[in-house]
């Protein structure tokens, strides 16, 4: 939900103009040259992150105080943006009150990508713990990188054999 002051700013137009200097993926639904000329067919769902961006461009004072690291986005919309190559969303939600982070051998605790994850969790009131074993009794265990644990839960899912490809999969142990 956008702050009302932010919504007013959106309605009155953002003072900033955003331009893409290189082609963006057409699946974003944007014109190849200018983000400000989205095709009429762009759905509201696709526009939500853009609206969030415009809102962020003129945040209220409390926002900058609350997010000194400038990583407030993205906002929750129920799905992932940009639209993934393959995505199945389920109408079930995993609790994040007791979270363990198990890092693969390819990911160090001080890895800046881990910081992006931990920051986001903490911003939502989650205090994740780094754990050393997949047998840890965390309510929700996040396996980051190649941990080699619980691979059977992946079934036939695999990381796409493409540059910058990734796999995100949530599963219930024993389910």
């Amino acid at each position: 939900m956008l702050h009302t002051a932010q919504a007013r700013r959106i309605a009155s137009g953002s003072p900033f103009v955003v331009r893409a200097t290189f082609p963006l993926p057409s699946r974003l639904g944007f014109d190849q040259r200018r983000l400000s000329t989205c095709p009429c067919s762009t759905t509201l769902q696709r526009l939500l992150p853009l609206l969030a961006f415009f809102a962020l461009s003129s945040p209220p004072d409390w926002a900058s105080a609350a997010d000194p690291d400038d990583r407030a986005v993205p906002y929750y919309t129920g799905t992932v943006y940009p639209t993934p190559q393959s995505a199945q969303y389920r109408d079930e939600f995993l609790p994040l009150t007791n979270v363990g982070l198990l890092l693969g051998k390819d990911v160090a605790p001080e890895d800046p990508r881990v910081a992006v994850l931990v920051e986001r969790l903490q911003r939502n009131g989650v205090q994740p713990r780094f754990v050393a074993s997949a047998e840890d009794r965390s309510e929700t265990l996040i396996l980051v990188g190649e941990t080699g644990a619980h691979e059977a839960l992946l079934g036939k899912l695999a990381v796409p054999a493409k540059a910058e490809g990734y796999l995100l999969h949530s599963a219930k142990n024993g389910a």
Partner: protein, 179 residues
């Protein structure tokens, strides 16, 4: 929850996707369950330009985390009068340098290429255009480049969209095919 990838940026995109699925129900943090396999259709450079002339760290983060840009191109040295001014004036230079270091602290560790740009545009001939034989212009460009390199970024000499006038000095020294 599995977050896996084949390379550095793949895991970053896995994490930024994960971050988009965090919400709250009855005041408790929750994660929407999902299975996602993804990769960019365009695996090369996907750049994003925050148009406003300051660090815009939050906007840059939008470009990276939501648009999946792996390069950010700033244009802070786009001054309406003269791009040289913030490089000549030490106070302005130090302010700009502090902003570049803030940008670098955010983007460089994530291996997001970033640039700040000198945009030598001015609608009036004789103001702002690069003087190709000028030692001062050369030294100012080097000064900007070194400061950006120190912060983990690179310098872009941005000639984009406009008609860029030649400086009178360049016309005199090198001639022109323009009519």
């Amino acid at each position: 929850m599995f977050l896996k990838s084949r390379d550095f940026h793949g895991l970053l995109w896995a994490i930024t996707s994960f971050n988009q699925l965090i919400t709250a129900q009855n005041g408790q943090p929750m994660l929407r369950a999902a299975s996602i396999q993804d990769f960019p259709e365009f695996p090369g450079i996907r750049a994003f330009t925050p148009f406003k002339d300051d660090d815009q760290a939050d906007v840059a983060w939008f470009g990276v985390s939501v648009l999946r840009s792996n390069a950010v191109i700033y244009r802070q040295l786009r001054k309406p009068v003269d791009w040289r001014l913030p490089l000549r004036d030490e106070t302005q230079f130090n302010d700009w340098k502090a902003r570049t270091q803030k940008i670098g602290a955010q983007l460089t560790p994530l291996k997001i290429a970033w640039y700040d740009s000198i945009l030598p545009f001015n609608g009036h001939v004789g103001l702002g255009q690069v003087r190709s034989k000028s030692e001062e212009d050369f030294q100012l460009v080097v000064k900007a480049g070194l400061a950006l390199a120190e912060a983990g970024g690179s310098l872009c000499l941005l000639y984009d969209d406009y008609r860029f006038f030649l400086s009178p000095e360049d016309v005199r020294d090198f001639g022109t095919a323009r009519v």
